[in-house]
């Protein structure tokens, strides 16, 4: 469950003929349980792509499919983790996490069990009764991930989820996400500006060209990760020192650089 398909997707903001094209002919196939990161210059339409899968934004042309069905509206089969967390400030950590389950009318015992499990998984147990504003940014984003994860969605959509965090917290969260992805693999669409983050987390990295955005190149990371056994390393910096990692990162950097230079010129 959870295959995502962009089929010749275009997006025009504003009026159909006088507006400006944000996306053009985007084609991308994401397999079930695959982790795909999208990188690209600012304003190239990464967020727009993700919002289309979430059902927040309509397509102007082409189709976006999840599980072979055209996306029409938001739904809990496609959970979103936002850069700015978007937790409900009047609900406690626990209430935030269980809100989606209550929407689904999950029976109480089952609900409590699921929430307890995810609280433990995300090491949030001691904060279960805190309000979001009482937590650090890293903690808040953990809650947002827990809130999405607890629904057991087919697809996880993450738009620069660690972009608002400081460097150290960010590293911890990246390691955590890899751990989570190993315990319970999901289809993940992950947007980031940080090339290292993309290479460290993703099975494949899709590089977008500048406006109107399109998928310029898709780079396979998984083959190298498996053959070089990146997952055998506990720490992110150990992986980042590997020649195989540096090689991939540089390759993506160069590809991105072409785009940025083009903007300047």
């Amino acid at each position: 469950m959870g295959a995502i398909r962009f089929d010749n997707v275009g997006k025009v903001f504003g009026r159909a003929n006088s507006g400006f094209a944000a996306l053009e002919a985007v084609d991308l196939d994401i397999r079930e349980r695959e982790f795909v990161a999208i990188v690209g210059p600012s304003g190239c339409g990464k967020t727009t792509c993700l919002r289309m899968v979430a059902g927040f934004e309509s397509v102007s042309s082409g189709r976006v499919l999840v599980n072979d069905r055209v996306v029409k509206a938001p739904g809990s089969d496609r959970a979103v983790v936002f850069q700015q967390f978007a937790l409900f400030p009047w609900k406690t950590v626990r209430q935030n996490i269980e809100f989606g389950l209550r929407n689904k009318r999950t029976p109480r015992d089952e609900r409590n069990e699921l929430v307890d499990d995810v609280l433990k998984l995300m090491t949030l147990e001691s904060h279960r009764d805190a309000y979001p504003h009482q937590l650090s940014g890293g903690m808040q984003q953990r809650v947002a991930i827990a809130r999405a994860y607890v629904l057991d969605p087919d697809v996880l959509l993450m738009d620069e989820p660690f972009g608002a965090l400081d460097a150290q917290t960010r590293v911890v969260m990246q390691e955590e996400l890899v751990r989570l992805a190993r315990i319970n693999p999901r289809t993940v669409l992950f947007i980031t500006h940080a090339v290292e983050e993309a290479v460290y987390l993703a099975d494949r990295v899709a590089i977008m060209s500048r406006r109107p955005g399109t998928i310029k190149e898709v780079i396979d990371v998984k083959t190298v990760r498996t053959s070089e056994d990146w997952d055998g390393f506990e720490k992110i910096e150990d992986v980042m020192d590997l020649e195989s990692f540096v090689h991939l990162r540089t390759r993506i950097w160069k590809s991105l650089r072409e785009e940025k230079v083009a903007v300047d010129g």
């Binding site: 059902g55 938001p74 739904g75 959970a79 936002f82 937790l87 409900f88 009047w90 989606g100 929407n103």
Partner: protein, 262 residues
């Protein structure tokens, strides 16, 4: 951090000075004969009158009993306005169609002053409890609707999207997202509603009631008992102030809980 206590003291001081001047002028005018005492009884006379009225009946009841009548009507009308107005405001804020249907009617009606409903209140309810309640309702209803509506429209769109991706139904969107997110705006609306409701209540009682502070004041006026009229005014002012203090305190408590500066 020495500034704040200093600032606070000076605020209190100014407030106190204002009161002294106010009561001073009020005291001086009738006692020196500048204004005849029948026109303006001195504060001391009024205080004595308030004391007498707490045990002695005037216009059928003691002052506390009149206040109790007024307050019961106020709470009924105010609660009715909140119970209907807040859900209506949220519905208008969430469903465009409700906004389009109810909006124009509401916009027209809200410019009619509550007191303008008095003839109908008298016609429909006589001096029964329904009349004053209807008039308070007319005063308190618009701020309830408007502030719930504004609150709902100003909810952070990211929170609405977060709720949507969590599979939230329209009903739960209103009760669990729009309502709590609008609480600060709604409480601000309730404060305005309480003020308008309480004001229009006393106006209504002047005409369509046989108890209550307003009624007591009309009766006193007919007897040229100016100190009793003023006792009524004092009661209105103090009860109104208390209602506002309670709502303000509630507002601050909610903001604190949300981590907003109070």
């Amino acid at each position: 951090m020495e500034e704040r206590p200093l600032y606070l003291t000076s605020t209190l001081l100014y407030g106190f000075a204002g009161l002294v001047v106010f009561f001073g002028v009020w005291f001086v005018l009738p006692t020196t004969g500048l204004v005849p005492v029948q026109f303006l009884p001195s504060p001391i006379t009024v205080a004595e009158r308030v004391a007498t009225l707490t045990t002695n009946r005037f216009a059928g009841a003691t002052l506390p009993a009149h206040i109790a009548y007024s307050f019961t009507r106020f709470i009924s009308g105010f609660a009715l306005a909140a119970l209907i107005g807040i859900p209506l405001g949220l519905l208008m804020g969430w469903f465009r169609i409700v906004d389009e249907i109810a909006g124009p009617i509401f916009d027209g009606l809200r410019f009619i002053a509550p007191i303008a409903w008095v003839p109908f209140a008298a016609l429909w309810f006589g001096t029964g409890i329904g009349g004053p309640i209807m008039i308070i309702f007319a005063g308190a209803f618009p701020p309830c609707v408007i502030n719930a509506y504004r609150g709902a429209r100003q909810v952070d769109p990211r929170l609405i999207e977060a709720a949507e991706m969590l599979g939230t139904s329209d009903m739960r969107m209103m009760t669990n997202i729009l309502l709590p997110a609008s609480v600060p705006s709604i409480v601000a609306g309730l404060r305005v509603a309480a003020g308008l409701g309480w004001q229009s209540l006393v106006g209504a009682e002047l005409i369509v009631a046989s108890t209550g502070v307003g009624f007591m004041m009309v009766q006193a006026q007919a007897n040229v008992a100016t100190s009793t009229v003023m006792s009524g005014m004092v009661a209105i002012g103090i009860v109104g102030l208390l209602i506002d203090i309670i709502l303000r305190w509630g507002e601050a408590a909610i903001r604190r809980r949300r981590g907003l500066n109070a």
